[in-house]
């Protein structure tokens, strides 16, 4: 009985990780907040987040997570909180000292994908769903090798 339950959990995990939600159904479009909890277990969402991190030039201030003009995103120190809501607020509303507001410039579901990716940079995402290495110059361990304990 326990084995069956365990098996079901493992199987269900696979479903969450592998879903590719291309279209955001209208009902959810109002607020994607419920979506974020799944994003950190969804490989596609975090992979998109990683791509958007590069495309929207987050690297310009945050580099590959190590920081530069902006604070590092890979470390344990979080100025404005590390919960998904905090990070979403950072992206959408901006923060003092130079983080611009991206509300209206980045679609909500894209922002939630970025939130999940940023958290995966510190190892908060589930390891089997976190992104692997990019086809790019090596910046350090890929996100699926990072652990919050490290």
């Amino acid at each position: 009985m326990r084995l069956a339950a365990l098996l079901l959990l493992v199987l269900a995990a696979g479903c969450e990780r592998e879903a590719r939600q291309f279209q955001v159904p209208p009902a959810q479009a109002k607020s994607l907040k419920p979506g974020y909890a799944n994003n950190e277990r969804n490989a596609y969402a975090m992979s998109q987040g990683k791509t958007l991190f590069r495309w929207f030039n987050c690297n310009g201030c945050h580099a590959g997570g190590g920081g530069g003009m902006g604070p590092p995103l890979m470390s344990d120190a979080w100025r404005y909180g590390n919960t998904p809501d905090d990070i979403y607020k950072s992206i959408m509303d901006g923060r003092p000292n130079g983080m611009p507001s991206f509300r209206g410039r980045i679609a909500e579901e894209q922002a939630w994908q970025l939130v999940a990716y940023v958290r995966s940079m510190s190892g908060y995402a589930r390891q089997d769903a976190a992104p692997g290495r990019a086809d790019a110059l090596y910046p350090g361990d890929p996100e699926n090798r990072r652990d919050t304990r490290n």
Binding site: F22, Q23, F56, A107
Partner: protein, 314 residues
């Protein structure tokens, strides 16, 4: 492939006819002899006693026949091998290029940069190539993400665009017209909708077209278009798209400076009409699920303004 509009495709087509002729000859030859064997050999309905005469006696006749057949097949094969080599060499000898276009494959659109080496003449466009008739065009093929393949069957064979490498393909259109191409290397969820159009036009028309492409986008003509531009630059569009002459300089999506001059949208997926453009902007995932452009819900007045501006980008 069977309608060749340029020398590359024509060479391949010539080789095709020769190969087809020889292969049909061999095919029907084999069928003929097989059929003859079936027809003339005596039949039996059960396990008749086996004929073991061949174990002690050499079968001269069949041996000679098989030898002749093998020799003939080998000869025909060599004809084909040599024909293939000759055609291959001809494809490689297109001569120096008159026009260079840098084509970069993205998931799931084509980025074209003309005359990239000359800053005073270069311009960028997407998904639709225009080339002068009768001139050799050299395409420099790069890929931004995964392997794609450029293929316009009326003009030439295909060439893969491989990340980390620059391939080249020379082609020439000898006949004016618009030719459809499509990505021919599986590149993910929207590989099926990554088409492109190549329009060949007389040299003077091409020069006029290129000059128009080099122009920046016109200023908005009225308040509605101005509102449209404002929405474009301050909204999600400018994060990925570029319109030369405005603050929008995104390079992650097709350059829209002359969007209204294109025949299709979304890499050959939709005709470029107001209705289709509206549908694409509002919900690209409904048309090309998995594409990197998010949905952009907006009130109708804003949509009208944006469309008014985009339609002016000729």
């Amino acid at each position: 492939m069977l309608d060749a509009a340029g020398p590359q495709a024509a060479r391949v087509l010539d080789l095709w006819w020769l190969t087809l002729a020889i292969c049909l000859l061999v095919f029907f030859g084999v069928l003929l002899f097989c059929g003859l064997a079936l027809w003339r050999a005596p039949k039996t309905q059960g396990p008749a006693a086996p004929d073991l005469a061949s174990l002690s006696m050499a079968e001269r006749g069949p041996r000679a026949a098989v030898a002749v057949a093998v020799a003939a097949s080998t000869g025909l094969l060599f004809v084909l091998i040599i024909a293939s080599f000759v055609a291959d060499r001809a494809l490689a000898n297109m001569g120096p290029p008159d026009l260079k276009i840098e084509l970069t494959g993205h998931r799931w659109w084509w980025e074209a940069r003309y005359d990239a080496s000359d800053p005073s003449k270069t311009f960028a466009t997407a998904n639709e190539l225009h080339i002068p008739v009768g001139r050799t065009v050299l395409l420099e093929l790069k890929a931004d993400d995964v392997i794609h393949s450029f293929w316009v069957p009326n003009l030439a064979g295909k060439k893969d665009l491989i990340p980390g490498r620059t391939a080249t393909l020379s082609l020439r259109a000898d006949r004016a017209g618009t030719y459809r191409g499509q990505c021919a290397e599986f590149c993910g969820v929207q590989h099926a909708k990554m088409a492109l159009l190549v329009t060949a036009m007389p040299q003077d028309e091409y020069d006029k077209w290129a000059a128009a492409q080099r122009e920046s986008a016109p200023e908005p003509a009225d308040k509605q278009q101005a509102r449209g531009l404002e929405l474009f630059v301050n909204g999600t569009c400018a994060m990925c798209h570029a319109i030369q002459g405005t603050p929008a300089h995104g390079r992650r999506a097709p350059d829209l400076t002359h969007l209204a001059s294109r025949r299709t949208l979304a890499a050959g997926t939709l005709p470029n009409t107001r209705g289709h453009l509206a549908g694409w902007i509002l919900d690209p995932q409904g048309i090309k699920p998995g594409v990197n452009m998010p949905a952009n819900p907006m009130p109708p007045e804003d949509l009208d303004a944006l469309l008014a501006y985009l339609e002016a980008l000729k």
